[in-house]
Amino acid sequence: MSVLKADNIVMQFGGVTAVNDLNIEVEKGKIVALIGPNGAGKTTAFNVITGVYQPTKGSVYFNGEKITGLSPDKITNKGIARTFQNIRLFKNLTVLDNILIANHLHVKSNFLSYTTRMPWSRKEEKSMRSKSEMLLEKLGLLSLKNEIAHSLPYGEQRKLEIARALATDAKLLLLDEPAAGMNPSETMQLSGFIHTIRDEFELTIFMIEHHMDLVMEISDKIYVLDFGQLIAQGTADEVKNNKRVIEAYLGVEEDA
């Protein structure tokens, strides 16, 4: 069964149709990419899936359950976490705090017992901390745990944002241009990193990306969006040789 299913999504802003009749299916354990030229509606599609926008028409299903109409925090509670195109870390807080905040959605004690440091709340805090440190260790960020997030190098900030999404215990990870602003060697490292976390945390990954090398290398399936329309889907090779995809990226010759 598919983990994520977008069913005839239409998203209009006034008279502009940003996404038109989008159908997407992401299967469990797969890495699926959404590509397309600038302004094709990729991030809009992400925002519809994560509840930032309510679609004009259509529904989104997560593990068969309809999630359209839920607020972003409820959707994250269901097990979908995302990163942002322009990094959105909690900049002035430490690396560890960033991860701990992503654990807050699992907190069971109320604010009174947490504040008065009741034994069960202490236990909760302790296990939250050790879980977060374990996650940082797995991702090679543990030595940076007391650094302020905005002081990290760019690549590490991207990594931290992914780590933060993982800390919510998500099963589906949406990555919005994870390789944006990275040089080729950093991009290759990222490709390895995405594979590792997919296997280690048993994730399904759905990502928007512009670096074609990366997309072609790691995606099991690719969706191509142009002017809000889905113009192609399939494996890397199928998409690479698709005439409409080539046209969308390179333009059409006038007399052809």
Partner: protein
């Protein structure tokens, strides 16, 4: 090494507390200081509670709220209405008699204080549900408006609040420990709250609300929570205020009062509790010290014309402007005062002397 330092710090805190307790007891037993000093210090303790609670909302959760005076008024009037001795009620409500439903009720001070805080929090939840959907300056305007509405309601609900005449003969507290004890408990509670998972969620909302929501934090619930907790402590502060002055009237809770608290948290550092505590004492004591600006001043036989009632507030506003122009982060910014910081300062001083 780290543990050793920790032990060292705990010893230093205990020592500091003992010094504080001895000083306060000496003041309290009237061995040192006079009535005026005691009154100013008590006022500073009350203002500390309110400004720290305001910093929780404004500095830590990033909600620009200006309703603090209104919440204080709720706490102050709750204490005033319920703790005034029954036999003096008739002489206070001499124009319009007190509402018979309230006339026979007397509750002891601690219960009335708590009730005042809870009522303020309840009102904050009711106000917060529509208003906390607003952002930054819109929220500031809405909360400011709310605070004025409270004041006007209290001016006109004569059978409950005695209107513009105010309520007199509120029993005063016999000891400074009441004010300072509640201050310590309130500040400790807020510090513990900020360092809990809920406090981290508040900070996440301040840093980036979109990202916080994407991390599964229910923005609305947490904003209302922070707002209500802030209002609770403002209500407690208001209740103490009523029992310190012995009298309440609506004019005390004019919106200019909220600006005093705003000055305290900006001076101390939005997002620093220790900074706010220090700034509250500086501002409260400063407001008293600057009082000589309000009195006519004659130097060498010449009467200086600008020294008159109200000039103190001009000086104060000018200080606020200088503060935001040159020291935007306040005394401590988002940092907390620590022993390491104190050691650094002394180290620098020593080097400077050499």
């Amino acid at each position: 090494m780290i543990n050793q330092r920790k032990d060292h710090n705990i010893k230093a805190y205990i020592l500091l507390f003992i010094v504080f307790a001895v000083l306060l007891t000496l003041l309290d037993l009237k061995y040192i200081g006079d009535e005026y000093v005691r009154r100013v210090l008590n006022l500073a303790a009350i203002y500390t509670i309110v400004s720290v609670s305001m910093n929780l909302v404004n500095g830590f959760t990033g909600l620009f709220s200006l309703g603090q005076a209104g919440f204080m008024a709720i706490g102050a009037y709750t204490v005033a209405i319920f703790t005034v001795p029954l036999e003096s009620r008739a002489s206070i409500f001499y124009v319009v008699p007190q509402n018979p439903a309230l006339a026979g009720i007397h509750i002891p001070f601690p219960a009335a204080l708590l009730l005042g805080g809870l009522l303020a929090a309840l009102v904050a939840i009711l106000i917060g549900i529509p208003v906390l959907r607003l952002k930054s300056d819109y929220l500031a305007i809405a909360t400011l408006g709310f605070s004025e509405i409270i004041r006007i309601v209290f001016t006109n609900a004569k059978t409950i609040t005695n209107g513009a005449l105010g309520i007199k003969s509120i029993p005063k507290m016999p000891t400074m420990w009441v004010f300072f004890g509640v201050m310590i408990l309130s500040v400790a509670f807020i510090v513990f709250l900020i360092n809990s998972s809920y406090g981290r969620a508040f900070k996440a909302i301040r840093e980036d609300a979109v990202a916080a929501e994407a991390m599964g934090i229910n923005l609305f619930k947490h904003k209302v929570m922070s707002f209500a907790i802030g209002a609770f402590f403002a209500g407690i502060g208001g209740g103490l205020f009523a029992s310190l002055l012995g009298t309440v009237d609506p004019k005390q809770f004019y919106f200019t009062m909220t600006y005093n608290f705003l000055l305290m948290i900006v001076l101390g550092g939005m997002g620093s509790i220790s900074g706010t505590v220090i700034a509250s004492f500086i501002v409260t004591i400063g407001l008293e010290v600057l009082r000589f600006f309000d009195n006519p001043l004659t130097l060498f036989g010449v009467t200086i014309p600008i020294f008159r009632a109200g000039f103190r507030m001009v000086i104060f506003s000018a200080l606020l402007m200088i503060l935001v122009l040159f020291f935007r982060n306040g005394l401590l910014g988002q940092k907390e005062l620590s022993w390491g910081m104190v050691r650094d300062w002394f180290g620098r001083l020593r080097r400077y002397k050499r």
